[in-house]
């Protein structure tokens, strides 16, 4: 029996070692670096000239109640997305969304982007408009980290514990938005202490412990990738098209644009690419967009939102939240003798949306 036992003991021990190895590596503490939160932010913001190549995974925790036209955006924010990236500079990079049997690649050059879709065998050319719907390259930790920190003030930043990301001892930074209307409770960013390159970004909302978005590098190489890797020439037999951007979208008849200078405590601002009819408010990660809605669109959107679980329906209109994102159709149809109808959307709380809707109605009167 003893003779029989030692062989099984060897196998069990070997199995235990193999199973424990990944957990042991994960549990090894990461080294911290002595750097102030504001200095770290400055380093992150200056990191857009750091060349790298890598593999990242983004996990979204949001379920968006959207129509078929926006499934791409909804998938990015609710699913796991695998990204391969090669970055030579702000206007020379490539990000591939990799699936088991296909991929969609975005190649940026000085004049715009090529998007290659293997499933459709289609290459499309875009001119990199200032305003666009979220796309997979925006989810890369490096791009997202810089974007989210771009308007963070000194008082909103604190240092957090370091973490090992893609084999790098990354230093941690927490951005806690100060605005009362904010629905994002914190953004945690871990960056390479030497280059400032963001390696992991976690967006948290106050109402749940599941991050609204968690994107991180799993592999990273700071060597400059080949120019041939980021360049793109459409294959000869591919379907070549031109991207539609948001300025091509018919916003319908714009009813009015005289919106207040402040809504829910957030100041109105101008954003490049945003049409005058749309009011943009807030700063940093706390933003609110307001647009008048044509009656026909308002009716169908209102009933769609009202049918969403958790929707709040009252005299002010219908409002819903998906994680830190919130959406409201405010006011009543002018045909019914009511006030004008507005669409409010942003990263603000439902209470802030209600306040904003009330303030718009008061301005209307």
């Amino acid at each position: 029996m003893v003779r029989r036992g030692w062989r099984w003991a060897v196998v069990a021990l070997g199995l235990a070692v193999l199973v424990a190895l990944p957990a042991v590596f994960e549990a090894l503490p990461a080294d911290d670096a002595s750097v102030a939160a504001t200095d770290l932010r400055d380093r992150v913001l200056a990191s857009d000239d750091v060349a790298f190549s890598g593999y990242a995974v983004s996990t979204g925790g949001l379920t968006l109640p959207v129509s078929d036209a926006l499934t791409g955006v909804a998938d990015l924010l609710s699913d796991q997305t695998s990204l391969r990236a090669w970055y030579r500079g702000a206007e020379d990079w490539r990000v591939d969304v990799v699936t088991t049997t296909g991929e969609t690649g975005t190649h940026r050059d000085a004049a715009g982007t090529w998007t290659w879709d293997y499933a459709d065998q289609r290459a499309s050319r875009g001119d990199a408009p200032p305003l666009a719907l979220p796309a997979a390259p925006d989810l890369l930790p490096s791009a997202l980290g810089r974007r989210l920190l771009s308007e963070a003030t000194d008082a909103e930043l604190t240092r957090i514990d370091p973490a090992r990301v893609a084999g790098v001892d990354a230093v941690g930074l927490r951005y806690t938005p100060a605005a009362e209307a904010a629905s994002v409770s914190a953004v945690d960013i871990w960056a390479d202490p030497t280059t400032g390159l963001p390696l992991r970004v976690v967006v948290r909302s106050a109402d749940t412990s599941i991050p609204a978005l968690d994107t991180r590098f799993l592999d990273l190489d700071l060597a400059t990738p080949d120019a041939a890797t980021t360049a793109f020439d459409p294959p000869p037999d591919a379907d070549v098209t031109t991207d539609r951007d948001l300025t091509d979208v018919d916003l319908g008849r714009q009813e009015r644009a005289d919106l207040p200078a402040t809504l829910a405590g957030l100041d109105r601002r101008t954003v490049e690419g945003v049409p005058d009819q749309i009011g943009a408010y807030g700063s940093g990660i706390t933003v609110l967009a307001v647009s008048a809605l044509p009656g026909r669109a308002a009716g169908s959107l209102r009933s769609q939102l009202a049918a969403t679980p958790g929707a709040v329906v009252d005299d002010l209109g219908v409002r819903i939240a998906a994680g830190p994102l919130s959406l409201m159709v405010a006011g009543t149809s002018t045909r019914d003798g009511g006030s004008g109808t507005y669409l409010l959307a942003g990263t603000v709380t439902l209470d802030a949306l209600a306040t904003a809707a009330q303030q718009i109605q008061e301005t209307d009167r």
């Binding site: 099984w8 593999y55 088991t100 294959p235």
Partner: protein
């Protein structure tokens, strides 16, 4: 001892019947594609099948993708499940072990024979795929095969990457073979050993589709099977290929170890 096992395996008619059956599905698919001219869209259906109508040299890959999920692992489980239990059921195991070579060497010889069987099978599937693909579909002579990433691959690159895929698919089957062989040392019934390995295979495939099982997905034996597609990205994505190879190695080492622990101390009565 390895040569003896190989001779035994490849002299059996059922080994060749298995390989023939395995080839029948891709050939049927090719004929249907030719007759109907209806290929799936890229990204849908088995990998690479969408491209074969315009480039028959890709059909070996499509054939591998067709047999990979079920046909090939079933064939491997049947042969590996039979390796020890088949001898026990046939009453020949006692005589095999009467030779001075020892049980550990017998196990290793059986495993090597299975690996050779998998390699021969995969190569035949690819070769038949090539013959059928080039005979039925157009062949692009001027290097214009579009890789998954939208870049062009030369015929030499396609050939090289197809060879890498053949090697990778062969190694991907080792996990199933190791499971079946381990079960084969536990029972005297080859059918039971084969079914055990198929249960693992189906369980793994099912868990892989569940979001709730995403934490254990990297350890499932079927997790990286389709990563041979990564050879056709540009540049080649080695990450999942390397993980697939490592994972199969771990399964082989652990299960062969368990088979060894069990088999070397087992009372052989048949």
């Amino acid at each position: 001892m390895i040569a003896v096992e190989l001779r035994k395996l490849f002299r059996r008619p059922r080994t060749w019947i298995t390989i023939a059956l395995l080839n029948s599905l891709p050939v049927l698919v090719a004929v249907l594609l030719k007759v109907t001219d209806l290929a799936p869209r890229p990204g849908e259906g088995p990998a690479f099948l969408s491209a074969v109508l315009t480039n028959g040299t890709l059909f070996p890959l499509a054939a591998l993708a067709i047999v990979l999920p079920l046909f090939l692992p079933i064939a491997v489980a049947v042969v590996a499940g039979d390796s020890v239990a088949g001898e026990a059921q046939g009453g020949t195991l006692r005589y095999l072990l009467a030779r001075p070579a020892g049980r550990t060497r017998l196990l290793v010889a059986k495993l090597v024979a299975i690996v050779v069987f998998v390699l021969v099978t995969v190569v035949i599937v690819a070769a038949v795929g090539y013959v059928v693909g080039t005979a039925l579909f157009e062949v692009q002579s001027l290097g214009a095969t579009t890789a998954v990433s939208g870049t062009s691959l030369t015929p030499e690159q396609v050939a090289g990457r197809t060879l890498l895929s053949i090697g990778y698919v062969t190694i991907s089957m080792l996990g199933v073979a190791a499971f079946a062989m381990f079960f084969s040392t536990l029972t005297d019934s080859p059918q039971l050993a084969t079914l055990g390995a198929l249960a693992v295979l189906i369980g793994s495939s099912l868990l892989f589709t569940l979001d709730a099982a995403s934490d254990i997905a990297p350890y499932l034996p079927t997790r990286y099977w389709l990563s041979f597609v990564d050879f056709f990205r540009d540049p080649i994505q080695w990450r999942n290929v390397a993980r697939g190879l490592g994972l199969q190695a771990v399964y082989v080492v652990v299960l062969l170890g368990a088979a060894w622990a069990n088999f070397t101390t087992k009372d052989i009565t048949s």
